[in-house]
Structures are given as C-alpha cells and as structure tokens.
Amino acid sequence: MTNPTELTPTNWTIAEARAALDTGEITAVALTEAHLAAMDAHKGLNAFVTETGDKALEMARASDARRQAGQARGALDGIPLAIKDLFCTDGVRTTAGSNILAPFVPPYESTVSANLWAAGAVMLGKANLDEFAMGSSNETSAFGGAVNPWTRTSEPGTRQVPGGSSGGSASAVAARLAMGATGTDTGGSIRQPASFCGIVGLKPTYGRCSRWGIVAFASSLDQAGPMTRSVTDAALMLGAMAGHDPRDSTSAPMPVPDFAATIEQGVAGLTVGIPKEYRPDEGLSPEIDALWTRGMEMLRDAGATIKDISLPHTQYALATYYIIAPAEASSNLARYDGVRYGLRVVDDGDGLNDMYRKTRAAGFGAEVKRRILIGTYALSAGYYDAYYLKAQKVRALIARDFKAAFDNGVDVILTPTTPSAAFPLGQEVTDPVTMYLNDVFTVPTSLAGLPGLSVPVALTSEGLPQGLQLIGRPFDEETVLRAGRALEKAAAFTATPSLVEG
C-alpha cells in the first residue's frame, strides 16, 4: 500500500524531488508553491524571520525555463531552500536575529548562498536563529523563538524548542516547509538543532565553506553547512555550498569532491572510535546511553570495527569554548556602532561614545551582551594570558587528542549529538552555564575544526527525536557521510513530527 504522504511533494527528499523534476512529474514552480503553502499553514512555528515568496516563485520560473531549455544546472536546480538569517542576501533583509540589524538590507550576497543560487536553488526565506547565533534553544532571537514541530507524547500541548542556533532552519526542514536549509555551526549550532528536530545536520571542516558574507560570531570556529532530511541530501547540498573563495583567506584551496558519489560505499573495513570521555562521571541519561550503544551495534553489523578510544581533554572543551567564542565575538561585534548600518540610538547633545553605548545597549539582547562582556574581560589588559592564551593552549591539546585517535587508525568517531532531547520552550534557565551544557558533545569537534554530522536515529519514550554524531578527519566529509548513510539505513528513521501530521 502506498503511504499517502509519499504523494506530497513537501515530503520528498531533495534527491526524490530532483528525479521528479527531471521526469517532468512536477515543475519547480509547483514544488515551490507547495512549500510556500506549507509555510503559510505553519506560521506558528515562527521558523522564518523574513519570507521571500515572490522571489522564490521568480527563481522557480527561471529554473523551469532552464530545464525546458535543457540547461538544468545540477542536483539543486529548482529545489526550495531556507537560508539562515545570518547569510547576507542581496536586497533581502538580514537580521542575524538581532534588533541591532533589524533594518539591515545587504547590498551583497554571501558566497555560500551565491553558490546555491548559481546551482539553481530557490530561496523561500530567511530562517529564524538565536541572536548572532548565540544560543542553544533559538529563544535569544529578537523575533521570538522558533518552535520544534515535534511534541512530547505526555504533554502534546507543550511546545518544545527546536535547538539553536540554527533553530528556524531545523524547524523548517523537519516540518516540511523547506527541502533543506543552510545553517552555521560555531559550537554545535547545526548539529544540536538537527538532533532536536530529527533531521540531518553537517558541520563541515573549518575552511570547507567560505565565511564571506556570513555575519561573524567567532571567526576561528564559524562554519556553514547543510541541514536536510537525508544524508544524501546533505552531500548534495554541501557539494553546492563548498569551495575555495579568494574573499575568505581561511577557505581551503581544495577541490570539492562529489560527496554523493561515495556515499553508498558502506562502512565495511572502517574503524569507528568510541571516546570514553563522552560518558561523563555523572553519567549519560539511560536513553542516550542506549541510543549510543544501538548506534555502535548498527555500524558493527554493517561491517565496521568498533574501537574504544580516549580523548582526554574533552572535559575542558566547554570552558575553552566559552573563552574563545566570546572573545572573538566581542571583537567581531564591535562593528555594530550605529554609524554605518543597523540601529542608531542617540539623543540631542550626545557625543560619539554616548551614541555607541546607547545603540549597543538597545540593540543587543541579554545573552549577546553577556558574551561581549565576558569576551571583553578575557581580552582586557592583564587578563589576556590567563584567559585567552590559556584557552588557545588547551584548544591545541583538544585538537591533538583527535589527531592521535585518527593517527591510530580510527576513521570516524561516534558519539551522541546532545546530552538530552529537546526541552520545553520558556523553561526558566537561571544559570547560563546550564544552557551551555547542551553543546558538551559538539564543542570539541568545533574547537578542532573537524567535520561533524548529526543523523537522526530514534525517538525517546516521549516521542522526541535524538541523533548521533559522527566526527571525521579534516576534509574527510566523504567518510563521515558514508558512515552517516550506513547509520541512516540501519536506523530507518521515518517518523514525522506530530505538528506536521496535524
């Protein structure tokens, strides 16, 4: 019997849509209209800060014209995507989830989004996010939090957070409002929301995608990546996003492989490392522990060798991150001064310093201010060595741990993505550090600049999705995606979010 949802284009993967577009079963315009209708029907998810329906239809018409002329451009031609509102889009407001950028309309396009448009993709709108990508629940957005389309079976009326910072992207993809979305990941901002929303999220190796035109948070950590409903789709999307860009000196001058070409090669012969430090003294939740064990079994059954490894400096990663990221943020966010763009708050008789201080007080939210102040302190005279320099040294040790594991024959590392499933919106978090703990399994990978992929594997007893993370060698997204595809096949995760089923 055919599942009726399979007949709904919004349920297709990018690969399936691509096939339907090629056979003429659907047009890019019809595919886009279906997604715009879904966006209309699910406005309550608050997944978008700005919707760009007219632009989407215009891009879809151009895609159909290309295809009719026999000039379709590749796997993404005609595919409707959401773009995290951290990527500058020419002529389309880009807010970074902040009041300070609320009026900002960039006169240029980010390299990653430009690459997607060059590949023929269609922009549905700008996805909600934590302010300046600082948060793990999407609740720091100046435009209100996005909502997770999954609900708890015991409390179906309570809404859950989608995770963050790429929460709108994750919510939109999970809820079938977009076939894929761009995210950015500084300490887990692609992988954690992907896990919370039951989708695939890939943070590529630092340098794989250009950071040019992405609103900067922490420049030594920020990396763009795809968020999709299948591992193959992530491979297709990454292929279009990635590539060397002379305008980002840290973007790697390396060829972009055909990530989808090797994805079905399986894991036979691969060695999968299991780091003991990801099972902390205070223990994992029994459900996450069981999920992790199931993941190991799935990869072993698929032919991989499982090997216990040690990454001894793991426990220091979060504290290291919460020096480095705020320090870099305090420097990057100094540009929001009320002079060249964005908000300006000034009263009669004010001097320049008054304008700076009032503008930034009014424009930034509490979490962003907190991080700017921590970063300013960590970089201030007399404290630089004790904080920033110390953190850069511990960061070197964390990277060394991973290198030792890979040098000892490990091909890919398997860990949980997050220490818990999604939590309810509006939960009072009095201690910022408690919120930071969401990133405990994703931050080490970020500090080492390695590729990390979250794959949805199972539902908790409460009906919420949970993912496992695969970590690879620098610029070896191919192996990460191969292992992710094997995990995806074994897990056969087909559940759809409760709010989508209606």
Partner: protein, 95 residues
C-alpha cells in the same frame, strides 16, 4: 574569580554598552558565575604547549595589495542611519 560592580562598569565601558546602575550587581553575579566555571582550565598543564592560532594546517595565501572593488559610495552608505553626500554623519567627536 569574582567581579565587583566597578569592574563590570569598566568592562561595560570598554565594550561600549550602557549598563544601568541597578543592573551592575546582578550582571557581576552572572559574569562571576561564568568566570568561576571557566577557572577549571587552570588545572590543565599547558607548560609546553603552543597556543593554537590556526585551525587548519594551512599557510594563509598572499595577494597583491591592489584595489579590486569600490567607487560605490551610494550603495555602501545605503544602510547608514544618517548619511549625506556619500559620507556618514555622526555626533560631534571632539569633546
């Protein structure tokens, strides 16, 4: 590490963020909590470790110091809260 009110006032000025007096104490508490948690790094022996200054093992490329773009003042200043004739207008700088 515990920050007092005066230190927070000083950091807030360095960061050019106006913090009202009645928020200095609560903010000092929050920031002290975060810094206290970060203190755990002190126990890590880093005596013979070089700080990580580059994520990728890659030499940054050189390029000619040439003009590649520009002459577009109208577009550049289009987002300015206050501009005139291709310039940004700001409050008086000289006190």
């Amino acid at each position: 590490m515990s920050l007092d009110k005066e230190t927070v006032r000083k950091i807030a000025f360095l960061a050019r963020i106006d913090v009202p007096d009645d928020q200095l104490d609560p903010l000092a508490g929050e920031l002290s909590g975060i810094l206290g948690w970060i203190e755990q790094l002190r126990v890590v022996d880093t005596s013979d470790v070089e700080p990580m200054t580059s994520v990728a093992a890659m030499t940054l490329p050189w390029r000619d110091d040439g003009v590649t773009d520009g002459d577009d003042a109208a577009r550049v200043t289009a987002n300015a809260p206050d501009s005139q004739g291709g310039f940004y207008r700001v409050p008086k700088v000289v006190e």
